[in-house]
Amino acid sequence: MLRNSDSGFGSATIVLHWTIAVLILGLTLLGFIMRRTEIDPALQFSLYQWHKSFGFTALGLAILRTAWWFIERSPAPVAGLGPLEHIAARMAHSVLILLALVVPLAGWAVVSASTLNIPSFYFNAIVIPHLPLAQSETSEAFWTFAHALLAYLTLGLVVLHAAAALYHHSIRRDEVLVRMLRPSFGLRRSRTLDAHENDDTAVERK
């Protein structure tokens, strides 16, 4: 149940997927609010620190997710998925996995390169050191831009990813979305497999 099976995702993948999804959406919203110029400065300071703590959480989970993605098998593609669709989905998923790592790393770079030199005090419990980057206005501006650009790119890809899942669920009426909601117990799907899918049921490794 924890592990993925040939027919679906295990609970480890599902929990990581949705936790990271919630963090990405929450952090994007938080990032957007805290950057507003008319915000109360004390509140703004707090929001930045929350953004950093949740951002480091997202980074930690993204590292786990990536490791799990390399270790674990991927379930076979659902019935009726064309080879091009499969490749497109695989590419989108790879980029999302990568962005989930790169966006928080860029955020960490902002904190580290900033001349403000504000410590990262993870949920007011542990000091997370800065990355070994030179602190300068130029460097801070660069990483701020990179962090924001990559975050908006991620948001765009998340929207596409969610739209694809809803399209599969509502229009194609296949298991794509449901597989990421309900853990697989390693059993074969009850539905009859067609010939095409039978060819694809060999355990697929990345």
Binding site: P41, A42, Q49, N117, I118, P119, F121, N124, P129
Partner: protein, 199 residues
Amino acid sequence: MMIPRGQTIRAIVSFALLAFSAAPATGARAPALADAAGNYRIASSSVIHFSIAQVGGGGGIAGNFAKFSGGFRLDRDNIGRSSVEFTLYPESVRSSERRIENFLRSSAVFDTANYKTVTFRSTSVTQTGPDTATVEGTLTARGKARKERFAVTLTDWNRRSISFTIRGSIRRSPYGIDVGTPIYSNVVEFDMNIRGLRR
């Protein structure tokens, strides 16, 4: 305010020693109270430095205030009856960069739009050593008045001016300025060099 009464005697002794032996009059650094007594205006060359430690060490926030005013009176007969009044204008805060200065001026810290000044009025002066004293008084910031204490050390004097270093650790949360804690310490360390010019 920190001119010891006993110093008068020490100065006389030192002068006597000087007269007889020409030995360095090391003990005569502090002036006789009678000589130092009077009213002083705080010179703009004084330095009002502050610093706030940050978690994990390293840097923190530091700066100074460029605009302030005030004066003090050293009582001729009793150092304990001396007094000081001091006003600083937080709008004039200077730090390592503009963003920090603007943050300190904002509603998060000094709220300079609503509170133009931070004031200190002494309520008692207590001598603690030949050239040291403790000054207690009322510090008012953001409309909140609290009793605070500063340690004063005499550093220099002549007929026209007198200088002190003044140190104090002020907890900022009682003034409604707890922003940034616990990343930044609740305690603001003040380290001031105050020079008084005789009026």
